[in-house]
Every structure is written in structure tokens, then in C-alpha cells.
């Protein structure tokens, strides 16, 4: 199995139903899993989180950044970027707005 920890910003942790300052969710996936499958797993049963991360077409929202370790997935394979056992996937709002 591939165990991956996802770190969420406070606003998304609340949408994910996490309490007590908890910001992390661990998911278990089959070997060869992708970032998209990590997001599927963490959003499963958490609709309030799901639509804030990705729009109806499944596209990552424009100003949501996802990192595997220190690497922005937009500079790698996007949602098809592979993850490995022990990886930490961090979701952060990008610099946007005025």
C-alpha cells in the first residue's frame, strides 16, 4: 500500500470536517497512485472539501496549489503526478486577489 499524508490549510480543514486544529488526513492507496487519486480519496465523503479543491470538470481550481513534497504538481504531471509511500501532499492557496 501507498500511505500519503495530505496537509490542508485551515479553511479547507474546516470544510473537511477536521476539528481541534487537525490539518492532516492520511489516505491509503494502491501502488502507482496519482495526486488525482489522493484528492479523490481525501474528498470521498467530504463534499464541502471536494468542490473547493476542484471544479465540476475535475480541474484543480486555478488558485489552489498542490505540492508533492516541495514540488508544485503544475510543474510536474499535474493531477497525474505519481505519489510514493510516505509522501506528504500539501494543499495551499496561491497568491491571488487584491
Amino acid at each position: 500500500m501507498t500511505r500519503v499524508v495530505i496537509r490542508l490549510p485551515a479553511v479547507l480543514a474546516e470544510a473537511a470536517g477536521l476539528t481541534g486544529g487537525q490539518r492532516e488526513v492520511e489516505v491509503e492507496l494502491a501502488p502507482g497512485a496519482t495526486v488525482g487519486q489522493v484528492l479523490d480519496a481525501v474528498a470521498d465523503g467530504r463534499p464541502r472539501l471536494a468542490w473547493r479543491l476542484r471544479d465540476e470538470t475535475g480541474t484543480l481550481r486555478r488558485y489552489v496549489n498542490v505540492f508533492v513534497g516541495d514540488d508544485d504538481v503544475r510543474s510536474a504531471g499535474g493531477l497525474a503526478t505519481p505519489v510514493a509511500d510516505g509522501d506528504v501532499v500539501t494543499v495551499l492557496p496561491s497568491v491571488a486577489g487584491g
Binding site: 468542490w51 473547493r52 465540476e56
Partner: protein, 364 residues
């Protein structure tokens, strides 16, 4: 009588209340750092505080409809986004531009959205269904985005016939249905499109706002992207009523809900010069269906180099026979209100973010 004014801005919502004539208190921000381009108070019995619906959009986390039972103190949002395209449409909601309750049916609410689409709720705005007849319209691929995006920004309902609905979109123009949304026909005859080779196409106009006269939506007023018009036959034909105005450009048009023939516009010089003539922010009002216009708005600024957006003004009839109440908000974050339909205006708020939408209601 207490009037509540909800002010949607680029960075949240403020709620103003008149404590007495000309005296206002303002609370906010609520929904901070979320854009609020659409607002509506739901119709309610006079003894109840009306529920407030807000089309909200986070730059990061996307758009939805939030609703508040207590004038913005607390907000309820559904688990799923209230408006979302079915997967097979391969489209994503960008922004909610208009929320329009159906005056005859309390649980029915319409939403005009970007990308150009119309949505209908039958549960008082908690969830919406795409109006297929408009989404699948053969003209859709030729509706082009205006500067703000491609959207249905105006919904006009008919209190006498729930199957008759009119929308306006930029660009695309005016469309109407007489069968509850199954089929839609363009209704732009007489409206110009100076930005197209054909100056009067069947569709493709950039109609900025449409308002229904107090007699009902058989008489309509339109502020076009150049041109102000009236229709006396439910948008089948339009005639220019711009004579007498200092300019025919602008974003909003308001109709007095209590006085037939009475409507207001807020002129800007032109498409290429989107500021009021001579920098004087003023309301221009007709009381004869556009045959003549009178400048009103004492108290509005004289050196104003900005604009009032299409939904950043509203008019409310507090009670039949009483003068109507007019509110407008500016892109430089000021809100002005009038208890005599624009004759005299007082500043309600200043230094807010860009005002995108204002709506008013009488509180119990």
C-alpha cells in the same frame, strides 16, 4: 420603518440599516474576502425578517450560494455547491451574476450565471438545476463574453405567468421563454450593436440591464451597451428613449415597482469613456416611460471618475403610494441612499471595496 440594504462587494458583504430618515448604521464585513456579485432578499410575510441569498465566490475555493436567516449574521451553505454543472456538460461555474426570486412562488429562485447559463431552484435557493432549454440553445456557441465574462446577468419574471421569463446576457442580448424555460427566442428587435458589422442583428447585442415597469413585464426598459430602450410588447420590439439623456451608455436601469412609467438610469459618457458626464454622478429619471428625463441626485458627488455597475443599484417601494427608496453603490466603495427616489441622496457608507450589488428590503 426600518430599511435594510445588503451591499455585496469585491471582498465581502456589508449590511446597512436606516434607523431614522437619513441616519444609517453599517455592519460588516460578512463573508469577508469573498466576492459577492449577486444578492436577493426572498419574499416573506411582513412580520418576518426576509432570508438573504448571496452569490459568493472565493478567488481560491470557487462559487456557491449562501443563505442567511438573520441579515448576514450567520450563513448556511449546502454540502455540495448550490450551483454545479452536471459532469456530462464539461463546464464549470465561474460566477453567479444574478439571483432573482419568483415573486409568485416563494420557493422558486432563478440564478443567472457565468458561463452563460440560467438555473432554477425550487427549494428557496439551496440547490439549483440547469435550465437546459437555454444551455442547449443553438445560438449559444455565438454568444461572446463581454469585458466581465460571458454571463446571464439579468432575470425578469412575470408575476402573472410563471412560465414567462426574460433574461439578458452580455453578449447575446435579450431572450425570452413562454413555456417555463423549455424554449427561448431572441428579443432584440430595435436594439443596436455598434460593435458588430450588422448594427441590428437578431442576437448578439450587449444589453447591460433590463427592468420591468410597474404595470408588468409587457413594458420593459433596457440599458444597452450604447442606447436606452423601452418595449411595450414584452420585448418583441424596442424603441429608443435616449433622447433627453446626457449620454446613452451605462450599466443599470431601474423601474419603480409602484409607479408606472417611472424608471432611472445612471449615464456614463460612452463605451470608451466610462465615467459620468463632467464627472457628475447623477441619476436620470423618467416619469413618462422615457419621453422625457430629469436629472436628480442632489448629494451625489460632483467629481466622480468611476462607475455604478449593473446590479449596484436598486429601487424599493416601501408601501403602495409612498415614495420609493433608491440605493446605489459605486466602484470606489461608496453607497448612497434616497428616500425620495433619487431626488436627494445621502451617503450611507464609504471606503468599502468595489460595490458589485445592492438590494434593499423593509424590515418588520
Amino acid at each position: 420603518m426600518t430599511i435594510a440594504v445588503a451591499v455585496g462587494t469585491k471582498k465581502g458583504l456589508w449590511l446597512a440599516r436606516s434607523r431614522a430618515a437619513g441616519e444609517w448604521s453599517v455592519q460588516g464585513p460578512r463573508l469577508a474576502m469573498r466576492e459577492v456579485p449577486a444578492l436577493a432578499f426572498l419574499p416573506s410575510p411582513a412580520s418576518e425578517v426576509p432570508r438573504l441569498l448571496a452569490g459568493v465566490r472565493s478567488e481560491h475555493w470557487g462559487p456557491t450560494v449562501a443563505n442567511s436567516p438573520d441579515l448576514g449574521e450567520t450563513w448556511e451553505e449546502t454540502e455540495q455547491a448550490a450551483i454545479r454543472f452536471p459532469a456530462e456538460d464539461r463546464a464549470a461555474l465561474e460566477r453567479i451574476w444574478q439571483i432573482q426570486p419568483d415573486p409568485a412562488r416563494p420557493d422558486v429562485v432563478w440564478a443567472g450565471c457565468e458561463p452563460t447559463s440560467l438555473w432554477r431552484s425550487t427549494d428557496a435557493g439551496r440547490s439549483f438545476t440547469l435550465v437546459r432549454g437555454l444551455w442547449d440553445h443553438p445560438h449559444r456557441e455565438r454568444w461572446q463574453p463581454g469585458a466581465g465574462g460571458a454571463a446571464v446577468h439579468t432575470v425578469v419574471t412575470d408575476p402573472a405567468d410563471p412560465d414567462r421569463v426574460l433574461v439578458a446576457m452580455s453578449t447575446g442580448g435579450v431572450y425570452a421563454t413562454e413555456d417555463g424555460g423549455d424554449t427561448w427566442q431572441p428579443r432584440n428587435a430595435g436594439i443596436s450593436a455598434g460593435f458588430l458589422p450588422d448594427p441590428e442583428p437578431v442576437f448578439g447585442q450587449c444589453v447591460h440591464k433590463v427592468a420591468a415597469d410597474a404595470i408588468g413585464p409587457q413594458r420593459l426598459y433596457a440599458q444597452n451597451h450604447g442606447g436606452v430602450y423601452r418595449s411595450d410588447d414584452a420585448a418583441m420590439h424596442w424603441v429608443s428613449i435616449a433622447a433627453g439623456l446626457p449620454a446613452d451608455f451605462g450599466f443599470t436601469v431601474l423601474a419603480d415597482p409602484d409607479r408606472p412609467g417611472t424608471a432611472c438610469v445612471i449615464p456614463l459618457v460612452s463605451d470608451g469613456y466610462r465615467m459620468p458626464p463632467d464627472g457628475r454622478l447623477r441619476v436620470h429619471r423618467t416619469e413618462d416611460g422615457g419621453e422625457s428625463w430629469k436629472e436628480v441626485g442632489a448629494g451625489l458627488p460632483d467629481r466622480f471618475w468611476n462607475a455604478v455597475l449593473r446590479d449596484a443599484a436598486c429601487v424599493l417601494s416601501p408601501a403602495p403610494g409612498q415614495p420609493s427608496f433608491l440605493v446605489l453603490g459605486t466602484r470606489d466603495g461608496c453607497v448612497y441612499a434616497s428616500a425620495d427616489e433619487g431626488d436627494s441622496m445621502v451617503q450611507v457608507a464609504a471606503h468599502l471595496p468595489d460595490v458589485l450589488c445592492v438590494r434593499a428590503a423593509v424590515l418588520p
